[in-house]
């Protein structure tokens, strides 16, 4: 599949400048296996989604089934039921069962799709091999970018990128749709969808000792105080805040004191509780809980990969003026990101020829000019051939003969 062929109109051709398809050596296979082990989230998220659907569907079945059965026993226990009424009653139970059957079919269709998605991802991991590595890497970059877009709430770009590359099964757009509803509401200062989400995931949030729901309740309480609806605020606190007292007394007390201060307070401890940024904080908190629940990293994958990549690439030489353009760290934006990151570390020398940018190893050993500058044998041989055995040092202009060179042995 040509990954970059997008329906981009006439003016936007689609040949990507990444046609590196030289077959890589076998050492890359081990490296590939290692990098596949980074893909936990890739398999985990669709599975959590699948699991969630299965559980929800099962709950529906259990609930409906029990109510049909209790419907029968109710009817059997009554003695004032006419025959017609009994028939009507049973008929209504039958149609209820029909409805359940339809729900079940629909539910198992969704389960099936989600199972397929889980499988598609396993297949995708399996498809990576040394031959299609650059294409596979390209695809991984797109997946990582979609993940970034989704976490940053750039949903349109996420959808478009996924569609145009035909990788919908490999990204978690539908999972994030669920998050989007909650986030949008919180940004509009509405807690209802967030509370519904908490109720949906009650047992798991409890397991991880999440206090997200508590934070939501606190915020609702503060809003009541802001509106000077004090009586309602107190009733609210009794009902929704008190249960958290045993574990979060301090915070509860602090928020409760706002009753005394009102929203116009200048007291810093309480003023901050009325700030609109509290809502942003709730959004962040939600994102964290959401990611945890699905087994995602809290940071966008892109940031994690970028950090590691920048550190691995960062050397003191990257910040010099003659840094090659091929090094990402020759660019201002990458340098800026890499600034607070550690430098890479090497246990063995790695020498790159200044002229050809190729590695100098035993096959292409380094040679030393009388002025101490070192270049690869390949580059120097080529230069000597073109200039009757004369060598000109490209960095100093020093001229010498090819036979004046000595080999350097790097261990």
């Amino acid at each position: 599949m040509e990954m970059n062929s997008l329906p981009n109109g006439n003016s936007t051709p689609s040949t990507p400048p990444v046609p590196t398809t030289t077959s890589p050596p076998s050492s890359k296979v081990g490296q590939l296996a290692e990098s596949l082990r980074l893909e936990h989230q890739f398999l985990r998220v669709p599975f959590e989604h699948y699991k969630k659907t299965i559980r929800a569907n099962h709950r529906v079945v259990e609930k409906e089934m029990s109510s049909v059965i209790s419907g029968v026993s109710d009817a059997a226990d009554r003695d004032d039921l006419s025959s017609d009424e009994a028939v009507n009653h049973l008929n209504s139970l039958v149609s209820r069962l029909q409805g359940l059957k339809r729900k079940l079919e629909e539910g198992s269709r969704v389960e099936h799709l989600q199972a397929q998605r889980c499988r598609a991802r396993l297949d995708h991991l399996e498809s990576a091999d040394a031959e299609n590595l650059s294409e596979w890497n390209n695809m991984r970059l797109k997946r990582i970018l979609v993940d970034y877009m989704l976490r940053m709430s750039y949903y349109d770009t996420a959808v478009k990128l996924a569609e145009s590359s035909n990788i919908q099964d490999l990204v978690d757009i539908d999972v994030f749709q669920e998050a989007k509803k909650v986030i949008d509401a919180l940004q509009n200062k509405e807690v209802a969808p967030a509370l519904a989400w908490c109720a949906d995931n009650k047992s798991r949030l409890k397991k991880s000792r999440s206090k997200f729901e508590f934070q939501l309740r606190l915020q609702e309480f503060v809003e009541l105080v802001r509106a000077e609806n004090n009586l309602r605020a107190i009733t609210y606190a009794r009902k929704y805040l008190a249960p958290w007292g045993s574990t979060h007394m301090k915070e509860l007390q602090r928020v409760f004191v706002t009753l005394a201060y009102k929203s116009t307070t200048e007291c810093a401890t309480y003023k901050v509780l009325f700030e609109p940024t509290q809502w942003d904080h709730l959004v962040d908190l939600f994102k964290q809980e959401f990611c945890k629940l699905y087994g995602m990293t809290l940071e966008p994958l892109l940031n994690i990969y970028l950090q590691a990549g920048l550190s691995a690439l960062k050397t003191p030489y990257c910040y010099e003026d003659d840094c090659t353009k091929e090094d990402p760290l020759s660019q201002e934006s990458f340098r800026k990101l890499a600034l607070p990151l550690p430098y890479s570390k090497q246990h063995h020398s790695k020498l790159v020829c200044y002229i050809t940018k190729e590695l100098m190893d035993t096959e292409n050993p380094p040679q030393v000019l009388p002025n101490g500058y070192v270049y690869s044998t390949k580059a120097l041989e080529e230069m000597a051939k073109k200039n009757d055995g004369k060598i000109t040092c490209p960095r100093t202009g020093f001229v010498c003969n090819y036979k004046d060179l000595v080999k350097a042995y790097i261990s």
Partner: protein
């Protein structure tokens, strides 16, 4: 990691799910049948005189359903399914790195910078529509407008080449001829050759000859062989496919020129050939495994990790990501610096200055090379520049 075991494990989960699904359906059908039967009985036995006839039927139905115990009947398959559902994530955690953010430093990246990098990446890959949408959605000011228009130019040239139109490419290459020459690229000559072959294919000898005179002859000094071959092709004008030079028609010739043009275009723009974002992410995928391994071993040193000036473990990147020479002294294991430069000893082996100073007791006496039997005089060691 065995992907097959994971696949098998997943198959088990989905098998259990299917089983539970069909089981549920069966149970519902059973309930349905019982109720339907009861309904029929009531309706057929229904005697307008008797009001109580249906009651025993209902009671019987109730007992039947109770004996059937549909909810408990589902419980066992559900239990199986649940255990499969909780086993699989455990297997994933065991087979994969469950949390790759362990190797993450708590440093906020500047979102604006990251977005700019992403937008540039889209443009340079030719994904202009996605780039535009992204810039709009991320509300990034037009900081990437320049790179967009630059790469638009390039993709216009490439797109024309796809429909065998070399004009834009030739125009660009001609106006950048000096810089191409400086870069040691013979792109212009290659483009002219392609054009020449195109003309020949159309069968016009005179035109081809004229073209060769005007555009190919200036390259004669460096490309005599190639030009001779091309000119001889005039003999087969219009039927090049049956000539000994049919390879000139191969589409791979075009691919090669497209690649060279892309390379040179990027170079002249001052851009890299590969997308820097793609390079960094691949480097990240190669760097993360050793870092995570270190983090797992050094679980207690989480705090130090946040402040380290240098990675605690070496990260082996592929050859193509080695952009700079790094010299590590084989004696002290330290990377060379300006104060501690690499030095060439008379035997050809290289050590860092400090190591040589140590072994020679500050150049007061000769010492043995750690790699060969030579006697080394520190004074005669030369500084190297890689």
């Amino acid at each position: 990691m065995e992907l097959n075991t994971i696949k098998d494990a997943f198959d088990r989960v989905s098998k259990k799910q299917k089983l539970s699904c069909s089981n549920t359906q069966e149970v519902i059908d059973q309930i349905d049948q019982e109720i339907e039967q009861a309904l029929q009985k009531i309706q057929s036995a229904s005697n307008p005189d008797s009001l109580l006839d249906h009651r025993p039927i209902l009671v019987e139905l109730k007992t039947k359903l109770k004996d059937m115990a549909p909810v408990t009947q589902l419980e066992s398959t559900q239990k199986d399914l649940n255990s499969a559902l909780s086993k699989y994530p455990k297997l994933l955690e065991k087979s994969f790195n469950p949390d790759i953010s362990k190797a993450y430093r708590n440093i906020e990246f500047d979102t604006h910078t990251v977005n700019q990098i992403i937008a540039s990446h889209f443009y340079r890959q030719g994904l202009f529509e996605i780039g535009d949408l992204f810039v709009q959605e991320a509300n990034e000011p037009e900081s990437v407008a320049v790179i967009k228009s630059q790469f638009q130019d390039m993709y216009q040239i490439l797109e024309a080449m796809k429909s065998q139109n070399l004009e834009p490419a030739l125009k660009w290459a001609t106006s950048n001829a000096d810089r191409l020459k400086h870069n040691g690229s013979d792109l212009l000559m290659k483009l002219h050759s392609l054009q020449f072959v195109e003309i020949l294919q159309k069968g016009s000898r005179d035109e081809a000859l004229n073209y060769a005179r005007t555009y190919l002859s200036p390259f004669a000094s460096n490309h005599m062989d190639a030009i001779q071959k091309l000119v001889v092709c005039i003999l087969w004008a219009g039927r090049l496919d049956r000539s000994p030079y049919y390879q000139l028609l191969s589409p791979t010739n075009w691919d090669k020129v497209v690649e060279e043009l892309t390379r040179q275009f990027c170079k002249i723009l001052g851009q890299s050939y590969e997308s820097p974002l793609a390079v960094t992410v691949v480097a990240g995928a190669q760097g993360l495994p050793p870092l995570l391994k270190f983090m797992n071993v050094m679980a207690g040193k989480k705090h130090e990790w946040q402040t380290m000036k240098q990675l605690p473990v070496p990260v082996e990147l592929d050859k193509e990501y080695q952009f700079h020479s790094i010299f590590v002294c084989p004696v002290s294991k330290e990377q060379s610096t300006e104060e501690n430069p690499p030095m060439l000893m008379s035997c050809g082996h290289v050590l860092c200055k400090q190591s040589i100073m140590k072994m020679s007791k500050n150049s007061t006496k000769s010492f043995k090379c750690p790699y060969c039997p030579s006697d080394i005089d520190a004074i005669r060691c030369r500084m190297l520049y890689f």
